[in-house]
Symmetry: C2
Subunit: 194 residues, 2 copies
């Protein structure tokens, strides 16, 4: 491996460390979850659910997308799903961050990671939709498991939450029944308003 290539990859991996300090809106054992451990949890969901779906997703592609999907948050930050002001600028911030972050890699790797990230964002392929289902399921389950203080803070209603979760519910099983079971718990525990 040429020294420049080696140094660029090491530099990118060093930069990745910062994702362990990008905080999400859900909590884990009393502290905010970070985007790196979230991405691992999403990967575990993908491993468990991959064989529940027909046709089977391309797990190499799905797990690669999941590993890459939040890296841009190192520069762009995590945008809470119900932060209306943040959502308005999210796409532009993330596009600029992707160019800067993936641009530190050698061109072939920059292209590969950009393509994976863009595929996840575009949601045009079954693999990207499966990865999105795992991502939404993890985020939703984490909120329900931690008592959803962030939902209570914005007075989240079931209808507004459902709008956010609809793309994952539209995937059908196994995502829909798992998310529906979580809604039943969330309503019973008063985490969402009617």
């Amino acid at each position: 491996m040429p020294p420049d290539r080696l140094a660029a990859i090491q530099g990118f991996l060093n930069l990745c460390d910062r994702l362990k300090h990008v905080h999400r809106a859900a909590r884990t054992q009393g502290r905010l979850e970070n985007s790196a451990e979230h991405a691992w949890h999403v990967a575990m969901i993908a491993v468990l659910l991959a064989e529940e779906v027909d046709p089977r997703p391309d797990l190499a592609r799905v797990l690669s997308m999941i590993a890459v999907h939040d890296v841009i948050e190192i520069e762009a930050g995590d945008t809470f799903a119900f932060d209306e002001a943040g959502l308005l600028t999210q796409q532009a911030r993330e596009q600029a961050a992707a160019a800067r972050i993936f641009g530190t890699l050698p061109p072939d790797l920059a292209a590969r990671l950009s393509t994976l990230w863009a595929e996840f964002e575009a949601q045009d392929t079954p693999d990207a939709r499966f990865a999105m289902g795992c991502d939404r399921l993890q985020g939703f389950a984490q909120q329900v498991d931690c008592g959803a203080p962030a939902w209570k803070e914005v007075g989240l209603t079931r209808a507004r939450s459902l709008k956010r979760m609809q793309p994952a519910l539209d995937l059908g099983p196994p995502f829909a029944p798992m998310i529906e079971a979580l809604y039943t718990r969330a309503m019973a525990e008063g985490l969402l308003r009617e």
Copy 2:
């Protein structure tokens, strides 16, 4: 999905949250790294290096192994590579933990995850060795990047460290040159004793 299966998978995913609170010996921005964010970082290395190796690893299998490889630490804890007392009991603790943790899943998923974990542990396949190389490289780089206080605490020598890293060095490129570059830095910065 039958309700029992759904509940078992949700229960396992909830259990997985605990890996975010299993601490490793390396630091990230001043705090201990946890095994969940470590596993994500290892996955990123696998995505970046997969095409540097001939024959190419089966990335679906490698990334699944990486997602699963440390889950047993929820019960068994992380064993520091130079904790001689811990290493003596590590295998027995991890075997028992694997049986308990994977045993909470439906039988087909318990078998799939156990098989992935056992393949990683046995190191008998090229995919398992590639995953191990990514795991060792991440652990080593994280220590060098954080100034390796845990190495200094045990007075780690270059020779003893090399013994630990030998299986990854034996994989050749891209692992060997990346690890050798880190050794050069570690020696220059006084992180290892001669």
